[in-house]
Amino acid sequence: MKKVYSDATAALADLLRDDMTIMCGGFGLCGIPDELIDAVRASGVKGLTVISNNAGIDGVGLGKLLETRQVAKMISSYVGENKEFARQFLAGELEIEFNPQGTLAERIRAGGAGIPAFFTKTGVGTKVAEGKEVRDFDGEAYVMERGLFADLALVHAHRGDTEGNLAYRMTARNFNPMMATAAAVTVAQVEHLVRPGEIEPDHIHTPGIYIGRIVHVPVREKRIEQRTTRKRAEAAQAAAGGGAV
């Protein structure tokens, strides 16, 4: 079983088809499988349903698939940073299903864990609960949400071994671990490809069983969406005076 592919195009070649459902990891531009997204764009497949917390920004991440009109529907929690998205949506060219972020995360986890439906308080009494079963448990109302499962999941990890075991870094973890479990095939883009055993088994976040294919994409440049910093002088001032109400 060879899971390692030479590049993103090779890894996705026989997996892509029109009208398929693709999960795509990442939060904002953090932890997105950008090289795999580029390969989807290059393939020209269209009519895609994309499950992703966000929709990238113009020209970056999933924004690239929006530019080329390859996406028919997004299932997301927040898409605020994308002008092309707004244009297509307002023109009726793009369908969007908004999910509360936690409901989206749990629906994906459920899909991967063989749970077809679960109940949550989130969204009770709001538009999100419209058309869904609402039920009382111990005097509190909960809405029933369904598991999500995709044809293909694209994830990003910091390290991966040739067996497919993955480890994520900091907040680049986000939706990647659940998505890795919730698709017929999962393809991982890893910054560092290592031999089995090099990731301590207690530190593996995604066991190799979930990863069908893996591509080594060394980091070139990672985009930052909101570069926020403090000045050293300010910091010193804050440390000196800070804290008191």
């Binding site: 680049a172 909101q226 926020t228 804290g243």
Partner: protein, 219 residues
């Protein structure tokens, strides 16, 4: 006269207790972290998968893998842990976060909250707001007392009932505006209660600019 943004944040910080785990929304709520009393242990949760959020990085030390839920670059602390979005919202939905401080477009006297969409405008999505208000133990709203319209008029934001699409029903415990502070008995029959006035603000001024019914219980 009314409270500034910093004064509102400072007032919100008085809701913190030692050992609290807190989620802060975007805008004024973010400022609350500047007012955590010295020696008080308050760990900030960022719903994209982090507990123990530190301050913004020094210039040149930004790490693209380390952002908060507002997509801003941040830093870690010795107490920091990272986890997946599913685990993060398990923490939120399971009632493990002590306090959520967030902004709002409208709050109703029964604790209903609207802060995610305006019909007819481009909808950006609710993000984690619905999960936070439904799951966190105590929800504090920090917002301007009224909305300023483009024509120069103002509209009340503390209402008998929200007319914008809801983020959650019976979820708000406390509202801090630039004019004062209100408690809401969100699960009971106690309604909304004005408990503090901002510096120089009178109860009459608040009454004139509030649609919601409330009782007054100033110290």
């Amino acid at each position: 006269m009314a409270w500034t943004r910093d004064q509102m944040a400072a007032r919100a910080a008085r809701e913190l207790e030692d050992g609290f785990y807190v989620n802060l929304g975007i805008g004024i709520p973010t400022l609350v972290s500047n007012f955590i009393p010295e020696g008080m242990s308050v760990q900030l949760q960022s719903e994209n998968g982090m507990l123990g959020m530190g301050p913004f990085p020094y210039e040149g030390e930004e790490d693209p893998d380390l952002i908060n839920a507002g997509k801003q670059t941040i830093t870690a602390l010795p107490t920091t842990s990272y986890f997946s979005s599913a685990d993060s919202f398990g923490m939120i939905r399971g009632g493990h976060i002590d306090l959520s401080i967030l902004g709002a477009m409208q709050v109703a006297e029964n604790g209903d909250l609207a802060n995610w969409m305006i019909p007819g405008k481009m909808v950006k999505g609710m993000g984690g707001a619905m999960d936070l208000v439904a799951g966190v133990k105590r929800v504090v709203v920090v917002m301007e007392h009224v909305a300023r319209n483009k024509d120069g008029t103002e509209s009340p934001k503390l209402l008998k009932a929200c007319d914008l699409p809801l983020t959650g029903t019976h979820v708000v415990d406390l509202v801090i505006t630039d004019l004062g502070v209100f408690t809401i008995d969100k699960k009971g029959e106690g309604g909304m209660r004005l408990i503090e006035l901002a510096d120089g603000v009178t109860e009459a001024e608040i009454r004139a600019r509030t649609e919601a019914a409330y009782t007054v219980a100033l110290d």
